[in-house]
């Protein structure tokens, strides 16, 4: 909310600078977001009386005015503005004046006539939006610098009001808070209109059929109004507070709303059928054309103001077009009511019609302000647009009693225990009284009756906050708790994440954090590993289709980041994310497994003196995956890499699943050529994804240390010729399957194709290390062992040994 300080000054005398005031209010919970100095016009922008308006000899569009601008002799000003007439008081900028947009006014010759100044519009002076005509003022002494006209120079503070404090959404409310926390006196004038003519109740009938949604409704009748334009001072204030001036009647309702927090509405009473106002729930399917010209279809939950024909306004949200005040309106019906916050909020949100009025009703208006604001607006309208206010307020208040805030019990000891600071009972009562509450002492307990405008004070804790707030949170000491000494700890899941992070960074990969939201197509092609069995979840109210679904795998985000980095010239991308996939299981329940997702792309950066490193390949990726798994205590003695074509996003001939005891931990491989093509990612791209929880589940919990060997190993090589399609790892597996404790390691050290190996075949060479724990193996023993190995392989596979 925007608060012009000159307006505020009508209710409290602020003795301090705006910045000190802002600090004070911020520390009381009324956060000041901005302090803006406005209307600081050059003193050579004056008020001037037009003495005469004459035609321009050389132009039909221009007029030559003689203006008394306090310069001794009248000055001559040429203007193209419409509607100029003698005796008007206007804004005139004299030569040398600098206007808010930076222009400097000078004496000029306009088509042969000298002009010693400029007649200015509101917009030119940054005092409003109207640029169509010259700013006209009420009676002012000609020659007064405009900056000295009351209200022109001002300071506007921007106030951020929390949702619980609807009572702060007015000039009066802010003034009341200042009075409470600084101790200055609040001035609270309650203007009342002079009444004349027949009583309002003779013409107006009022019936409330939905008492819980409208516990209080007040109306006044104003006869013989003459709708007009609002004066400058009022338009200025409205615009400073952020509202646009319309006409005197509408402006008056907005003005009083801004000033006192009570939204008001004006009907053209002659268009209210039967002169009867009925406040009721809408009938489902009922229609009304609202002020903005849109036909609205209403529902049974909406509250409407109706006449005998049908709805004339949606309560607290927007008036109807048929009953709106127009230039021809003669009789006004002014409405001031308390509408239940929930109903206004539901309807305004459903119809997409936020408004200043709805904003205030949603946050609860002050029920005691309902008739007061009605009196104030009636008095103001008579001042601005004439008319006679009919005697009496027409009121129905079926739920008024329930609106009064109920007394709340405050145990001072409880307040002290919650705050951790000593405050006396008397001091607590003093602070609460400053806020307008009534306090009664009952033995040890204070019984507090909150003021009518504080619907938010319902519990003892609410009062404790008020006590602390008025005293200032700074006054509460800062004290570390006395607690039993216990150790803190990371959760196991998070320590796994940390470990994976360090391991992959050590492998030269960079961590990324990508959006969990993605588009449906990316999500479809990229289930990843953790999302392979999950159905995508749609976002019901996405900001765009780009973020229309929750990703099933972090890989969809990594792929997008990869594309972006490649576009920006990255030749190597080695990245990972430790993030979640999201989706629905077969049974329909939501799951969010934690994945470690990896992408390798392009060519390794040069190592030392070379043009570039080698292109990344499957072995690089497998190396990274092995390093990660090794960090969780899992090595190739327990892991199996199986070719897989099940991961649809991977190249079917270049993909593996990594398993332990038949349970898959993840997949790795080259990005599927179709995706490469669709995404237009040039260069080799490899992806891997592991389910972190599965990895951690299989990783050993403790390290078991083997004694160091005391005897030397003996190695024997083994070379075989096999079909091209043969899996080199099968030989290692097979030798391991012998489970002979004297076979220590098996390692592939050469893979060869070409002469003299026949085409379609390849030669694999392994080195087998034999060692016994308790002695040196003899040559004969090793030879026997090696022969067992050869026999085993010969029996299992179709292969040929090379000598």
């Amino acid at each position: 909310m925007r608060v012009p300080l000159t307006w505020l000054g009508e209710f409290v005398t602020v003795g301090t600078s705006p910045s000190t005031l802002a600090e004070r209010l911020t520390m009381a919970g009324l956060e000041i977001e901005s302090i803006e100095e406005v209307g600081r016009l050059d003193r050579r922008v004056r008020t001037g009386r037009i003495l005469a308006v004459e035609p321009h000899p050389n132009s039909d569009g221009l007029r030559v005015c003689r203006v008394d601008a306090g310069e001794g002799a009248p000055i001559q000003v040429v203007s193209g503005a419409p509607g100029l007439a003698a005796d008007q008081i206007v804004a005139v900028a004299l030569p040398g004046a600098r206007l808010p947009d930076g222009r400097e006014v000078s004496s000029v010759d306009l088509r042969g006539v000298a002009s010693a100044g400029v007649l200015c519009s509101e917009a030119e002076l940054a005092l409003g939006e109207d640029a169509t005509r010259v700013l006209a003022l009420a009676e002012e002494t000609p020659g007064t610098p405009l900056v000295e006209v009351p209200g022109v120079a001002d300071t506007v503070i921007g106030v951020e009001v929390t949702p619980n404090r609807g009572d702060w959404l007015s000039i009066l409310g802010v003034a009341r808070e200042i009075a409470a926390v600084t101790g200055v006196r609040l001035r609270h004038p309650r203007p009342r209109p002079r009444e004349a003519g027949g009583a309002a109740a003779q013409d107006v009938r009022l019936r409330i059929e939905a008492a819980t949604l409208c516990p209080r409704y007040c109306a006044r009748l104003v006869r013989a109004v003459r709708p007009a334009e609002s004066p400058f001072w009022l338009r200025l204030r409205l615009q400073r507070a952020g509202m646009r001036p319309i006409d005197a009647v509408v402006d008056a309702t907005n003005y009083i709303m801004l000033e006192r927090g009570q939204p008001l509405h004006a009907f053209d009473f002659e268009r209210i059928a039967g002169g009867e106002i009925i406040v009721r729930r809408a009938r489902a399917g009922e229609r009304m054309r609202s002020l903005d010209g849109v036909d609205r279809v209403l529902e049974g939950d909406d509250l409407v103001i109706a006449d005998q024909r049908g709805p004339v306004a949606i309560a607290g949200v927007m008036g109807g077009e048929d009953s709106a005040v127009t230039a021809g309106t003669r009789v006004l019906l002014l409405e001031s009511a308390f509408f239940a916050p929930g109903t206004v909020r539901r309807t305004s949100r459903r119809l997409g019609l936020p408004s200043q009025a709805a904003y205030r009703f949603e946050r609860r208006v002050d029920p005691a302000m309902v008739p007061e604001a009605l009196d104030a607006v009636a008095a103001l309208i008579v001042r601005l647009a004439g008319g006679r206010v009919a005697p009496g307020i027409v009121e129905a208040a079926p739920g008024l009693d329930a609106l009064a805030p109920a007394p709340v019990r405050l145990r001072p000891r409880r307040a002290v225990a919650l705050l951790g600071t000593q405050i006396s009972r008397g001091e607590m009562a003093r602070r609460l009284r400053a806020l307008g509450a009534q306090c009664r002492a009952d033995g040890d307990v204070l019984t507090i009756t909150p003021p009518s405008w504080r619907g938010d004070l319902k519990l003892e804790e609410d009062l404790v906050e008020e006590v602390a707030r008025v005293g200032g949170y700074d006054a509460v000491p800062t004290a570390l708790p006395e607690a039993v000494v216990t150790s803190g700890e990371e959760s196991p899941e998070r320590s796994w994440q940390r470990r994976a992070r360090r391991l992959l960074v050590a492998e030269g990969l960079t961590e990324m954090v990508t959006l969990s939201l993605t588009d449906a197509e990316s999500n479809r092609v990229m289930p990843g590993f953790v999302g392979r069995a999950l159905m995508p979840i749609d976002v019901r109210n996405p900001l765009s289709s780009e973020t229309g679904q929750l990703r099933r795998s972090p890989l969809s985000g990594l792929l997008r980041a990869l594309r972006m980095n490649v576009d920006r010239g990255a030749g190597f991308v080695g990245a990972f994310e430790i993030g979640k996939g999201y989706g629905l299981e077969g049974g329909g329940s939501a799951r969010e497994p934690r994945a470690v997702s990896i992408v390798l792309h392009g060519a390794w950066p040069p190592r030392g003196v070379e043009q570039t490193g080698p292109a990344v390949d499957f072995a690089d990726l497998k190396g990274v995956v092995l390093a990660l798994l090794a960090g969780f205590g899992l090595d190739e003695t327990v892991l199996r890499f199986r070719p897989t074509s099940e991961a649809a996003f991977l190249h079917p001939a270049q993909a593996a699943s990594v398993e332990i005891d038949g349970t898959p931990l993840g997949v790795l491989g080259a990005l599927h050529p179709e995706i490469v093509h669709a995404r237009d990612i040039a260069g080799e791209t490899l992806l891997a994804e592991l389910d972190l929880c599965e990895v951690a589940r299989y990783g050993p919990r403790r390290v078991t240390v083997r004694p160091l060997p005391r005897f030397p190993p003996v190695t024997r090589d083994l070379a075989v010729i096999v079909e091209e399609t043969f899996h080199a790892g099968d030989i290692v597996e097979e030798i391991r399957a012998l489970a002979n404790p004297q076979i220590e390691t098996v390692r592939l050290f050469d893979c060869y194709r070409g002469a003299p190996i026949p085409s379609g075949k390849k030669s694999l060479a392994y080195s087998v290390a034999y060692r016994a724990a308790d002695r040196s193996l003899t040559d004969d023993e090793v030879n026997a062992l090696h022969a067992t190995v050869r026999e085993r392989l010969q029996g299992r596979f179709s292969l040929e040994f090379r000598s």
């Binding site: 800062t478 960074v505 961590e511 939201l517 109210n541 980041a561």
Partner: protein, 347 residues
Amino acid sequence: MRAELAGLRESALAEIAACHSEGELEAVRVRYLGKKGSLNAILRGLGAQPPAERPAMGALANEVKEALVAQLDARGGALAAARLARGLTENRVDVTLPGRTRPRGHVHPLRAVEEEVVDVFVSMGFRVAEGPEIEDDFHNFGALNFPPDHPARDTQDTLFLAGDDRLLRTHTSPVQIREMRRSKPPLRVVVPGTVYRRDELDPTHSPMFQQIEGFMVDEHVTFANLKGVVVHFLRRLFGPATGVRFQPTFFPFTEPSAQFDISCNACGGSDAPDPACRVCRGRGWLEIGGSGMIHPNVLRAVGYDPEVVQGFAFGLGIDRIALLRYGLDDLRLFYDNDLRFLGQFPF
């Protein structure tokens, strides 16, 4: 034979002296002292000598051999020393050539800051808990005292998911509910996690960001203790001289509620703010997080008796801390994942 030996000695010594490499020297050694060398060739004629002269001839031959060996060793030593000396000036390494590096990896700044913040709380005895990001109305709102149709929900612009009662959590507070329902006080828990709001990605907003939330529940935990823990934490993170202030605000799930700020670390701070400071916009204070005493309705929702236990909770944005920590003003850098950005974080 004597003359032969003398001749051999003379010519061998001359040749040794003329050697300029260890290879040449070895060739000389083989030629004179090898199995098939000249000395042996002469000695093979020893049998033809008169027996009385044989010992003298043998001794002479030995003498010649020893002299040659001594000279070979000396010359060899000198040549080896010269070679080593030459080696010290040759084979220079160009130390300015590039090192043979592996690519360096980097931790994402959001994760680095999150770890750091978590570590501070763990060191203060807090236990870490996590919870689901896909939540329901009860955990995200209802149990946290957000009434239906209350404007407080506007401050949590929510992304709703297809299906009954599914949404993306707008804060980490649902984990507060889950942890309190799961266990009994005393509790000291800290909750890091990803949260969502219906915001476009721009320099100051993101549909997804990182939060950390902490709470403590016990019989005597006070608002003063809340201030104590938060101030202690902020000074650990931002330095011991950091100014901290608490101001009243509103959250449905705490009462009293407090926003906490630190004095701006980019300008003179709260004592002498720079009106042109881009970070604090001249205010001298930076909003860091929200906190308060857990609302009695929240305690009741998890089955605690607010007359018996009380506690505080606080929450703050990891993204915001990271922006401040690295002097950045655009949140998008964190979610763009440009390697040229990420590569600037050294660990």
